[in-house]
């Protein structure tokens, strides 16, 4: 019997070609969307899966509760890892990771000289915990001896070309020689940890001020590997007295240590000072929803077309029932057909998804591998389940309806579109358009939000501003360097800063004069020189900026922004005393108040900010170029730099570019939005095309009679268009509020956001209406312009 159904299905494919194409097209689009989104989600969920001990691998995080509230950070201090191994039998091994040379160093081999950012110090057991594949060198000893370094494959080729890297010596920051003891395969994109080189942790023991034994110096990421039978939750409980004991030096705060599964870091980490920004579980859920909705839209189109063809199949039902078929046998037949549609569409969808996957890889910025999806989903069983479910869902109601036709009525051709079924089909198409309108509106809103993030006034002029890396060896002579760069034609001013706008800023405790430890307030702190404020172009609302005319500014003065003044309770802050409550404390006088400006990403609101002159913390020079002379200035700056600091590479970037890159996730969401909006519109149009085509076919006789009595083609088209325009108008009533709700929810996470105006919703509705009307006209055109005789003869 099944063979009979399959043969019949194949023969029927060619009969109603247009309907078959529409139906197949919709299902293909639906399945392809699910496959591509599934590919992305599988990739996101597979981070760190290269480590065979992932189920036992944890990162230790620190929770700090004090008067300012509670904060969780990914960092721990030096003693914690080794102490956990010593004190807890559950802990098999620990590894510490630390960013060295302030995260940026100059590497040199021969005449090859570059800044490198991805340098970490790692304990000797690193390769025992993490399965980064060592291509040469001994994993047990590569990071044992001081001044050892393991390079990634890319780094080894960058410095040594085709030569064997093992045994070669690299000089870092002109003063530290490291012997290459291993070459490791580049960490895959799907890792929370990316590095260019790993220096042995033992190297730090010989360096001054590393505070490796201080519990209150948070500079390490600590990982632990638990024994196979260890209970992580129980261990975390034991860490409470362990932490209390270790952090006893600071009674003003409560410290707790937590075990964070390494497998959770990418999607579920909610701590500060993560190694890298992670993914978003919320985004994955949203994408899953998009995949499900897209597939359901495709299923709805398939259902719609089956119902539209119900009357055509009535005769077949009558014949089969006359030949002995029962209702259940016919239901099985139609359900089986629906599943066959699903299987066929899935096959084509796989090919389409494979063709589109490279484009998706470009969009997300890393290669996506299909093997991850198949491994993640376990087996084809999930795919089979989805295909079957889609087929059954699409086919159930039509099968139920069609198999229920009474044979006598069916054979007499008396099966008409009952009003309830017609309503259902129109409701399905209207829902599809609602989804399409909602997606179009959301996409417009996302694009506007991205534009806001990219162009919103920051309180300083971002264009014409360069950031130049200031390496540690040049700190002692930065002033001379700065003055030399200022003299370059085309340069307006140069200032030094610890973190350029947009970068993560450290926080420090500050005490207004006369306060006690309980009055400590946390504020962001930037180390700047006496030219920075002018270079940046920030407005001073009270007092003055730092100035070389006031030598006491260095070491005895602060600048605060308006938010900080409010935090400290100062209405007239200039002249007030403030203490930076570090060890040893540093007091000074507030000499100026800056208008609030965005020194961080627009993902965060402007917070309290204190500026202090502290040259040891300078990391960058900001260079303001004169707009009319900016061309060529970059080359001149490079030449001047190379003349003054030939051993330090000149690394410069326009601030506007680095600020724009902060919003790449939103830009990506916007692009993805275009894709899926296009899909949704295509599906909705397909559904409407199919519905309209079938309904018009049914009205051929009526149209023939109308034309026989004088109706023109435009008049016929107006008749049809009017009917469906109402449908789309109603779908707007559902789609627009949906979009507004979704948009409001998404925008809530942004402190600076666009306001919701009717514009995007009206645009979305207008676009849907236009596409809908074009679809209706195209599908009705042939029938509308046919000669009346052909329509009447057809009957």
């Amino acid at each position: 019997m099944l063979r009979h159904y399959v043969e019949l299905f194949v023969r029927q494919l060619g009969r109603n070609r247009l309907t078959s194409i529409v139906r197949l097209g919709a299902l293909v689009v639906g399945f392809a969307s699910v496959l591509l989104i599934g590919l992305y989600i599988a990739d996101e969920a597979s981070w760190d899966h290269l480590h065979s001990h992932l189920d036992r691998l944890f990162r230790v995080t620190t929770e700090i509760k004090d008067a300012d509230g509670s904060q969780a950070i990914a960092l721990t201090s030096g003693p914690i890892g080794p102490a956990m191994v010593a004190d807890f039998p559950e802990v098999q091994d620990s590894v510490r990771l630390r960013r060295v040379f302030r995260g940026r160093a100059v590497f040199r081999y021969g005449d090859k000289l570059y800044y490198e950012k991805g340098l970490y110090a790692a304990d000797a057991d690193f390769f025992r915990l993490f399965d980064f594949s060592l291509e040469s060198g001994n994993p047990d000893s590569a990071l044992k001896e001081p001044n050892s370094i393991v390079l990634t494959d890319s780094m080894a080729r960058k410095y040594f070309g085709p030569e064997r890297a093992l045994g070669k010596v690299l000089t870092i920051n002109q003063s530290h020689d490291f012997k290459v003891t291993g070459v490791v395969r580049d960490p895959p994109p799907e890792s929370h940890l990316h590095f260019d080189a790993l220096a042995s942790f033992s190297t730090l023991e010989s360096m001054p001020e590393k505070h490796l034994d201080r519990w209150l110096f948070f500079s390490e990421w600590t990982y632990v590997l638990l024994r196979p039978d260890a209970d992580a939750m129980a261990l975390e409980g034991k860490l409470i007295p362990f932490a209390k004991n270790g952090f006893a030096e600071d009674p003003s705060a409560e410290y707790r240590l937590h075990l964070q599964p390494v497998g959770d870091i990418h999607l579920r980490s909610n701590v500060l000072y993560d190694l890298e920004p992670g993914g978003s579980l919320g985004n994955l859920y949203a994408l899953s929803l998009v995949a499900i909705v897209t597939l359901l839209m495709a299923v709805a189109i398939s259902t719609n077309l089956s119902l539209a063809q119900a009357a055509d199949r009535a005769r077949e039902v009558g014949i089969r029932k006359a030949a002995g078929a029962g209702r259940s046998e016919l239901m099985v037949q139609f359900l089986f057909e629906s599943v066959l549609w699903s299987i066929l569409a899935f096959g084509v969808a796989v090919l389409l998804a494979m063709a589109l996957a490279p484009r998706l890889s470009v969009l997300v910025g890393r290669p996506l591998h299909w093997r991850v999806l198949w491994a993640w989903s376990g087996s084809p069983a999930v795919a089979v389940g989805v295909v079957l479910l889609a087929g059954l869902l699409a086919g159930f109601y039509p099968a139920f309806v069609i198999a229920g036709f009474r044979p006598a009525t069916a054979l007499r051709g008396l099966i008409m579109g009952r009003s309830s079924k017609v309503v259902l089909r129109r409701v399905l198409v209207a829902l599809q358009f609602s989804v399409a309108i909602a997606l179009v509106a959301m996409t417009i809103l996302v694009r506007r939000q991205v534009r806001l993030l990219e162009t919103r006034g920051l309180g300083f002029e971002r264009t014409g501003l360069l950031t130049v890396t200031l390496p540690e060896p040049l700190l002692s002579r930065y002033a001379g360097l700065r003055d030399a760069l200022r003299a370059v034609p085309g340069v307006q001013d140069v200032g030094a800063i610890s973190q350029a706008p947009g970068e993560a800023v450290a926080q420090g405790p500050f005490l207004p004069a006369g306060g006690t430890a309980q009055d400590d307030r946390a504020a962001s702190i930037l180390a700047v020189d006496d030219h920075l404020v002018q270079t940046l172009g920030v407005d001073v609302s009270q007092g003055r900026p730092f100035s070389e005319e006031f030598p006491s500014d260095a070491g005895g003065a602060f600048l605060v922004n308006q938010s900080a003044a409010k935090l400290f309770g100062f209405t007239r802050p200039v002249g007030k005393r403030l203490t930076w409550d570090i060890d040893p404390p540093r007091s000074g006088t507030i000499v100026g108040v800056l208008k609030d400006f965005h020194y961080r990403s627009l993902h965060e609101p402007i917070g309290p900010l204190v500026m202090v002159i502290e040259p040891s913390k300078f990391r960058e020079l900001l260079v303001r170029l004169r707009p009319e002379e900016a061309r060529g200035a970059l080359e001149r700056l490079g030449a001047t730099w190379n003349g003054l600091a030939p051993d330090e590479p000149f690394e410069a970037e326009f601030l506007a570019d680095s600020l724009r890159s902060l919003y790449i996730p939103e830009q990506r969401i916007g692009e993805l939005g275009y894709w899926f909006t296009g899909l949704a519109i295509a599906l909705a149009a397909l559904g409407l095309f199919g519905l309209c085509g079938e309904l018009i076919r049914r009205r051929r006789r009526e149209i023939g009679v109308r034309k026989a009595f004088g109706a023109s083609t435009p008049a016929i088209l107006r008749l049809v268009v009017r009917e469906f325009a109402l449908l789309i108008a109603l779908s707007g009533l559902v789609g627009m509020p949906l979009a507004a709700l979704g948009a409001r929810h998404w925008l809530e996470s942004y402190p600076y956001r666009i306001s919701l105006s009717p514009g995007p919703f009206v645009e979305a509705f207008g676009l849907a209406l236009l596409i809908g009307m074009v679809t209706v006209v195209v599908s009705s055109w042939e029938t509308a312009r046919a000669r009346p005789a052909s329509a009447l003869r057809y009957e």
Binding site: L8, G318, A325, A408, T409
Partner: protein, 229 residues
């Protein structure tokens, strides 16, 4: 035998109520060839559908070979229909996607007859109907007479007790019509009960008895004097 008492069928829509068959009392003996005649719209086809279990009466009683079927569900009727009733329609009602052999085999599929036996019986019927040479053709490639032969083949392949024919020669020319009537006669002689609706007096003459219908009611019945092949 088929026995109908007070058989009535009313079609209802929101605005209109139409009585297609009204209080019909009719008995058809086993092996009888009955013809139903009447003007267009008199209820002939409706009566045929009721007798053939394609439709259910609104009221009245109907015994189908001693089984009370009036008031039964469509599910019950379909089970009873399977293998017991063969239908021949005026416009053939063949399935365009299936070949001649596949059309004829359709009832056997629903009777779960094994494939080998199915093929054997289909070949036997096609030989008898002299269309075996067209077994792989689709209906669109056949003449009207050939299509009706295929329809007859489908109706008889499962050896039904009752053959119901609705204007079997309506779309055929005279020669083809005579050939089809000859076949029906033969099937009746082989033991099948045949109930046929026709406008044609010549075709009706093949029957043992003619029932005349007007406005859904039997107006008169007549037995025929002789039946020539």
């Amino acid at each position: 035998m088929l026995q109908a008492r007070g058989l009535t069928r009313i079609y209802r829509t929101d605005e209109v109520e139409t009585t297609a068959v009204r209080q019909v009392d009719l008995t058809v003996e086993d092996g009888e060839f009955l013809s139903v005649m009447g003007p267009s719209g008199c209820g002939k086809s409706t009566l045929l559908n009721l007798l053939g279990l394609l439709d259910a009466p609104t009221s009245g009683e109907y015994d189908f070979f001693e089984q009370r079927v009036s008031g039964r569900s469509e599910r019950y009727l379909s089970r009873l229909r399977k293998g017991a009733v063969g239908f021949i329609f005026q416009d053939f009602n063949l399935m365009d996607e299936l070949t001649v052999a596949e059309n004829v085999a359709l009832p056997l599929l629903y009777l779960r007859v094994p494939a080998t036996e199915r093929r054997r019986r289909v070949d036997e019927v096609l030989e008898r109907l002299d269309i075996a040479h067209r077994s792989r053709h689709v209906p669109g490639q056949l003449s009207g007479g050939q299509q009706q032969r295929v329809a007859i083949g489908r109706a008889v392949v499962m050896r039904p007790r009752l053959i119901v024919a609705d204007e079997p020669t309506g779309n055929l020319d005279t020669a083809q019509g005579e050939s089809i009537m000859g076949l029906l006669n033969e099937l009746n002689r082989d033991g099948a009960t045949v109930v046929m609706v026709t406008h044609s007096a010549d075709c009706a003459a093949y029957a043992d008895r003619i029932v005349h219908l007007l406005d859904g009611e039997i107006t008169r019945q007549e037995t025929t004097t002789s039946r020539d092949a």
